[in-house]
């Protein structure tokens, strides 16, 4: 584990998470959640958990984002908070 990369990626993860729950548009919220999942995948690759990183890249950043975008496409993008 290389600690400067670790700290940088952890701060990116926290920033992406806070931005994903605080943005007003649901579609950009879903895209920010995809960025969050990809940063999480990088964090696990840094920590040496490569199998978890592979699974997170396909399932978390891939399938979850597609699910969110499909659900938002079938409902509405508007939100008040």
């Amino acid at each position: 584990m290389i600690w400067p990369i670790d700290i940088i990626i952890i701060s990116f993860v926290v920033i992406c998470g806070i931005a994903a729950i605080s943005v007003k548009d649901l579609l950009s919220s879903a895209i920010l959640f995809g960025a969050y999942s990809f940063m999480m995948c990088l964090l696990w690759a840094v920590m040496g958990a490569v199998d978890v990183a592979f699974t997170e890249a396909t399932v978390g950043a891939g399938v979850s984002t597609v699910f969110f975008v499909a659900a938002i496409f079938r409902t509405s993008r508007r939100t008040r908070d």
């Binding site: 993860v13 729950i21 879903a30 959640f33 040496g48 199998d51 409902t75």
Partner: protein
């Protein structure tokens, strides 16, 4: 101050605490159902981050044996502990299944009420239960 250095050196766990608080906040405070589902996912990934952080080591390599069939002794200190990784692999798959079920329920709610905001759904439910109630009496 040795205590301060000890606290700062656990930065992975501080990140875990921050992410878990963000997810709990989104699940409790946010009014939109999609935001609540997003917060649930953030909470799940934060817990996975905690378990993977417990297995991280400095000066250790990936848990793949370098001399598989030799006479060498294997030192467990040289390898990262792979047990939390395997457990969290299951947790990721469970989390995406939970996400699918939650989004299907949200789609059903949208088809029923035409909105994803929680207070509007409660208003529509109240109006559906007793239709003769006037608009002013709803806030009782």
């Amino acid at each position: 101050m040795d205590v301060l250095g000890y606290i700062i050196s656990k930065y992975n766990y501080w990140g875990f605490v921050l992410l878990m608080m963000v997810g709990m906040y989104a699940m409790i405070v946010k009014n939109n159902l999609m935001k609540k589902i997003l917060g649930m996912n953030i909470l799940q990934t934060a817990i996975i981050l905690f378990f993977v952080s417990t297995s991280a080591k400095t000066k250790a390599t990936l848990p793949i044996l370098e001399h598989g069939h030799g006479d060498h002794a294997i030192h467990a200190v040289d390898y990262i502990n792979p047990l939390p990784h395997v457990l969290m692999l299951t947790a990721i798959v469970v989390s995406v299944a939970t996400l699918g079920v939650a989004l299907a329920l949200a789609l059903k709610v949208y088809k029923e009420y035409g909105t994803l905001e929680e207070d509007e759904i409660f208003e529509a439910q109240k109006k559906k239960l007793n239709p003769e109630m006037q608009e002013g009496e709803v806030n009782s």
